[in-house]
Symmetry: C2
Subunit: 887 residues, 2 copies
């Protein structure tokens, strides 16, 4: 006996989505539930796979089974496929397990030929309708099966329609149009839409199968991570017509509002219309509520069915229906897409309704949906032109005037102007400019570039890597996509889509509702992994607490070095000709650092605060080489034109000073600063910096403790590769700790640990753990060094890599489990082998990525730490990870 | 019973160097052998350790044992320690297992006080001699035990000596000098040299013990890798005097010539002198042969003893002896230090003499000694001032005129001038300049910087990281150490010591002798590991074969891109606006590459050649950003002064072109090029480059094979992190291979493999090995990424790290077994788990480092590859590793 490739709706098992595809499974399930579904059959995904493997041939007996099923449908409907009397027409649709744009969608009215069109005319008593149906069929078939450009066909149809001035076309006109369409199709494809209904069906089924392998579909699967070997099913279903008069209609309805999640039917319908009319946008649909008056019976049937479907599927449904001469037909149901706000509301409501468990509710909301709740969004319906599209690096939306320079951003912001900082890329120098801006846009860099990391940290909307954007600093203009925007003009940045819109577009502020708090509380109850935030200032720390962070996992002290006018003092320290001058500059910085830490400890009362000692190479604190060189060149140019002697002297003095700075910048400049003199290496070269920072931390801790605040400092040494590096610095920290705490006569529990961000540190974790109290995996840097990828430079080709399938995902967004993940696992195991109670966390950007969190949870780490605005995402992801691991 | 801390020479076991120290063990052994050794005793290294641990106190009963031993010496000599008649005087010396500068060395004539000086005067009948001995003792004791600056004491003694106009000082003068020295000592130390001989001895022993822990000794042990807990022994030995007349004397002799290895006694002696006189250089010693006439008996005794000692120790000995009134005394013997040439000659001769085995001979010569044989050296005895000292990066010695620019180097070299290229650092741009130069000096960079790697590859002498060197390109002057050298003036570079000498200093050319060839043949017979060379040109390849390379392990194709005027074509390829223009430029490069490969295959007939596809980021082929920017600035400055309109137009055109180049340079510039768009990533972005290079390789291989040459090409994909990267490129290479070989109708065995130079590649080696034929560990880059250390930038602090003991050795010189080594081991194991016959080699600089070779041999790798000039070193090291692993 040959394999079974075809199932009638009432024979198929609706639970088997793998075999039937999503659409077919839904129809089978509704049929089984006794809902009014036009009869039909499904050709399985197995058949598609076999077809593809066999070099585009139907598997044995599939076609015979399909014809047999068609006979079944004829029987159920009492109609004849392509018959001259009461003809059976069918729709042919694709349906993979996962919904997939780019694949062939739908051919309607299949089965129409000259004979059956007349049959339809007789059966409905409406010849105009029948020939219009024929025209639509020919158009769709020509486009989808023969690949004739849809535009070419619709132009012809449109031209005919125009001549009719909106009136229903006469039969003769439709007949003439069918002929014209067939000739155009012949011109392109060297064949006409066949008359034989069986041949129509055969070609349509092949077209569905072929569309599984077309470029757009393949590309989409790559991006969406859908396996290549799923295959698509084919659904062949008897046509019903919503366009047969006032007691007919078609509509789309959700069981709850997909925008807000508010319960109750939500949708729209069109009387006397086919679904395609709604899509084509020729007529404006009515709100669903109007259906109650227009056709009350059908409406109550819809309400009843909606309720049954939601209970059956235990989730909000997105339904398509048609009413044909008063008779209600369900054409499709599927789980409805929804906004983040609605997702949360629906999940929480369904728990209240007793339909799903708390665990299921947590599984229903994903990280990106939670994230939507926390940031402003661009109001829907904007028609503003898109200037450029980049990588969405930090969510939110903001409008403001374009500024190309950080100092200008600060100045305008102080005047109360909202500004958008647009740069080629940012450096630590831009920090105050970024703080002063509503959003940040860069032409270069990826989602873990400086701009992206800082923006997420301070909760600013940010788009990076807008490679089309030309920034001309001289003429103070940016341009892309044929549009110019001058500095001072408005743009709106959408950090969720990565779009830069021209002009000031309305944005909607976020508001956290009860449903959000319920869901988050459940997440906190279910998760094992602790969630901390990366926060560098008291303001960030407070925000992090508000969003549920249980401590700070990474406080980057270098950001404090940039705040206000401290950078001048930092530069004095770097330019210091000797240790005495260096100590003097450091002494000036210490009180500032003490104040910073006091603010952070206050905000984190009772929670641990991990403070990382100075990490970046010193040249990051100096002006840029090129900027300085340019200044010198400018001055020299001016000098060559200057006539006033006093002015010449002044300029010469200025040039001299700048040249000294340039010399120091050159001296400190490194070919590969990421692998250069930074992190613990600085602390070893300049132990005074470590001493100053330790003193500031312990002084702040002691002062807070004296006021009754519970402080739990965890001091972290960055970039350790060799255990003696750690030992060297830890000894200084502990010694300063004993001194300062001794002076205050106070006892504070503190930890001294390290970042594990180099392969060597992970490989020798057992040695480092001998003396370290905790590890924090710096997975950004660990990814860089393990894969040899610079996060600043790699975006130029990583996108291509993902598109080409060389790698599955950007390893800076989702941890590379097979490579970098091995080192996280090994570092954790080896560290714990030396010290079983070693505290282990993660403070890279991966700490806020759900897929990565699942991996970290599986390793049994203690906590993840991420930007404050990703803390709720991480809390949810940690709960989902816990639940998954229990299954 | 308390522990034994003290042994008389004739009681001690001379084989126990750990306990007795090297000096003590030698004396004990000679005593046991019945050689004439002045009696004495040894205080053990255990006693030193106990003394150090106990807070500088003698261990229990040690002092009593010492006094008892002294009584034994009194008995053996028939003299009394500090006695008024026939007094026993002793020398006190330190002696650790390893010879160690920086520790206390010797106090002579201990036991002299007012009374015993008179006793000595009586016993010898020479009061002048006795009081001179006393002066010498006071001076040494004051300096060594009390820490009075030696210079201060010798100034006083010198002043007295001058007054005597070279005559022997009268007794009264010596007595007065003793008084003056004692007052000066008292002024510094608040104590005088004691009269009591026992107290003298006690203080001297403490001083030896203390000197074990002084800073210079501790620093030396760190550098030399000598364990801290060895401790030093103390040797106390009866004095004999070579300065008691014409039948007395003292000398130093080697059993063979330590410079050439020629057999026969070699050394010098001074009649009527003490050893210290030789050292002080006051008198010029005579050749040892003159001793035969002066004191024939003593001479034959020396010859006989030398022969016995060499047979006993089975190695060339360095002996100290004294003749006292015709009686011959051995004071010390030890294995003699020797030049590389002598080491080889001696080892081979000793095998011929039947004294040692071939295996032992291989163990007697180390890599640096072999290396000396292969390069010119600075002729000994140069007094040229040292301009600066850097890191010795590539051995050899060369003199030439200073040139600060690569083009200038080429130009002058074409005029026949020997040039020394001096740069801040080099880039691939400097390649032809380096080839044209005799030696290369850089102010920055470490021993694996570009300059160092290239210089070793082409066998040029090179010194890098001369951080004191100021290079002023504007005034064309270099300076350091207070000396200025203008471009065009002569310097001599010593690549073995890292010194830059002012002026033209004589150098000696290398010459390989029979002993060298014998030793290398033995090495080849004993080693398991194959040795290949890194060679990029036919000339290098020929040199590599000459030096014994068994193939090429790394042929860097990018160097071919810089040769001659090809760089212009390469730039056209990079600046190409589209694929057509790019293909055109590549087509121009292909014939050149074919010719290069033909030359290399010819030189390597029968041996494998590993060719690495293009690796460096493209911007390395463009002019430097700053240079171009500077050119533009210069032009603009000229423009502002220009008056001729035609000239203005020309300049504007030039500026425009340069600005286009600058734009491309900026676009391609990366923040961390080491982690950027290079290696396999280039090949994926521009598959045309991979195709062109593959076509060139296979075309060359086919043409050679047609001529009967055996070609074994191994094509290597660089910088793979993810296995699909390798698969992508390997598919192109194999496809081109089949095409080209098919066209030629020829079959050639070739391999396609990859560099393992990123941690991720090692971690996922099993995935990569599925499809790869071989692995070659690029340990330079693997070290960089594993440790997060840039080899260009790290030298700024790595030196400090080694000095501070944070790391044991520069991981770019000797493989970091504990970190990077783990990945080499793991990558090998995993690769072989997927493909048991996977060929695995190493092509980093570590392939020429003996300690690293030992590690690679222990992993069972197939081969190492290194610069041609290190091939003999690697052959020897591989043999030694094999022999060690068998033990």
């Amino acid at each position: 006996m040959s394999e079974r490739w075809v199932y009638l709706f009432d024979e198929a098992d609706g639970a088997n989505r793998d075999l039937l595809g999503g659409k077919g499974a839904g129809l089978a399930e509704m049929t089984a539930a006794g809902l009014p579904v036009p009869p039909g059959f499904i050709i399985t995904t197995d058949a598609c796979r076999s077809y593809t493997e066999k070099g585009l041939e139907f598997p044995e007996s599939m076609w015979e089974q399909a014809l047999e099923a068609m006979a079944g449908v004829e029987k159920l409907t009492g109609k004849t496929f392509g018959g001259a009397e009461n003809p059976l027409l069918v729709s042919v649709r694709s349906g993979a397990k996962a919904s997939m744009p780019g694949m062939m969608d739908t051919i309607l009215n299949l089965g129409l030929n000259d004979e059956s069109t007349e049959g339809l005319a007789k059966a409905t008593g409406d010849a105009q309708f029948a020939w219009q149906a024929r025209v639509r069929f020919i158009q769709m078939f020509g486009d989808i099966v023969f690949g004739v450009p849809a535009l070419r066909l619709s132009e012809i149809a449109e031209a005919a329609r125009k001549q009719q001035n909106g009136a229903r076309p006469a039969v003769e006109e439709s007949i003439a149009l069918v002929d014209r369409l067939q000739s155009v199709i012949y011109g392109y494809a060297h064949q006409r839409v066949p008359e034989d209904p069986a041949q129509q069906l055969e070609l349509a089924i092949s077209a569905v199968f072929n569309s599984w392998s077309n470029k757009r579909a393949v590309d989409y699967r790559k991006v969406a991570g859908i396996p290549e070997d799923l295959g698509t099913g084919v659904t062949v279903q008897a046509m019903v017509f919503g366009n047969t008069g006032a007691q007919s209609g078609t509509g789309v309805a959700f069981t709850r509002d997909p925008g807000s999640g508010v319960p109750g039917i939500f949708g729209e319908y069109l009387p006397d219309a086919q679904g395609e009319d709604v899509v084509a946008g020729i007529r404006t649909p009515h709100p669903i509520s109007m259906m109650q008056d227009d056709m009350p019976d059908a409406y109550s049937e819809l309400i009843e069915i909606a309720d049954r479907l939601e209970k059956h599927y235990r989730d909000m449904q997105d339904m398509e229906f048609t009413v044909e001469n008063g008779r209600f037909w369900m054409l499709q149901t599927r789980t409805g897409k929804r906004t983040g706000r609605a997702a949360v509301r629906i999940a929480v409501d369904l728990v209240a309704d007793g339909l799903i468990t708390v665990e299921e509710a947590l599984g229903r909301v994903d990280g990106s949906q939670i994230e939507q709740l926390l940031h402003p969004v661009v109001a829907p319906g904007s028609t503003a032109p898109v200037l450029a599209t980049g990588l969405p690096a930090s969510p939110g939306a903001a409008a403001g005037v374009v500024v190309l320079d950080s100092e200008e951003a600060v100045a305008l912001s102080e005047q109360g102007k909202p500004v958008i900082l647009v740069r080629h890329e940012t450096s630590p120098d831009d920090f105050s400019g970024m703080v002063a801006s509503q959003a940040i846009v860069t032409a270069r860099g990826g989602v873990t570039s400086h701009a992206a990391v800082v923006a997420r940290g301070i909760g600013k909307c940010c788009v990076v890597g807008c490679s089309d954007l030309m920034i001309d600093e001289t003429s103070q203009v940016i341009q892309a996509n044929g549009i110019q925007v001058a500095a001072g003009e408005w743009v709106t940045v959408d950090g969720t889509t990565g779009q830069i819109l021209v002009g000031e577009v309305e944005t909607i502020e976020p508001e956290l509702d009860d449903a959000y708090y319920s869901l988050m509380q459940w997440a906190d109850e279910k998760r094992r992994l602790r969630v901390r935030a990366n926060a560098d200032t008291p303001v960030d720390a407070a925000k992090a607490r508000e969003l549920g962070a249980e401590g700070i996992g990474l406080c980057r002290t270098e950001h404090m070095f940039f705040a206000g006018d401290r950078i001048e003092t930092v530069r004095q320290m770097i330019m210091a000709p000797n240790n005495v001058a260096r100590a003097e500059a450091l002494a000036k910085l210490e009180p500032h650092q003490v104040q910073d830490f006091i603010g952070i400890f206050e905000a984190m009362d009772g929670f641990p605060v991990t403070i990382r000692l100075l990490d970046p190479p010193l040249h990051e604190f100096l002006p840029r080489h090129d900027d300085t060189a340019l200044q010198i060149t400018d001055l020299k140019l001016q000098l060559s034109r200057a006539e006033n002697l006093q002015r010449v002297d002044a300029m010469l003095g200025e040039i001299h000073e700048l040249e000294a700075m340039l010399h120091q910048v050159s001296r400190l400049t490194e070919q590969n600063p990421m692998l250069g003199h930074r992190g613990v290496r600085l602390g070893i070269a300049y132990p005074q910096i470590t001493e100053m920072q330790s003193r500031a931390i312990f002084t702040a801790a002691a002062r807070c403790a004296e006021r009754g605040i519970t402080v739990l400092p965890e001091i972290m040494i960055p970039l350790v590769a060799f255990s003696p590096e750690f030992d060297h610095q830890a000894a200084i920290v502990r010694q300063v700790g004993e001194e300062v705490l001794g002076q205050h006569g106070i006892n504070i529990d503190y930890l001294v640990g390290t970042m594990i961000e180099l392969p060597r540190a992970a490989l020798t974790a057992h040695e480092i753990a001998e003396n370290a109290d905790f590890f924090s995996f710096g997975t950004n840097d660990l990814t860089q060094s393990t894969c040899g990828l610079s996060r600043d430079d790699a975006p130029r080709f990583l996108g291509e890599y993902v598109r080409e399938g060389v790698i599955k995902a950007d390893p800076f967004q989702t941890i590379d489990v097979d490579g970098v993940g091995q080192l996280v696992r090994l570092g954790t195991e080896r560290g714990r082998s030396a010290k079983p109670d070693l505290k282990v966390g993660v403070c890279g950007e991966h700490g806020g990525d759900p897929a990565s969190i699942r991996f970290f949870d599986s390793l049994g780490l203690h906590y993840v730490s991420c930007s404050p605005y990703r803390v709720p995402v991480a809390r949810l992801a940690a709960a989902r990870a816990s639940l998954e691991s229990k299954q």
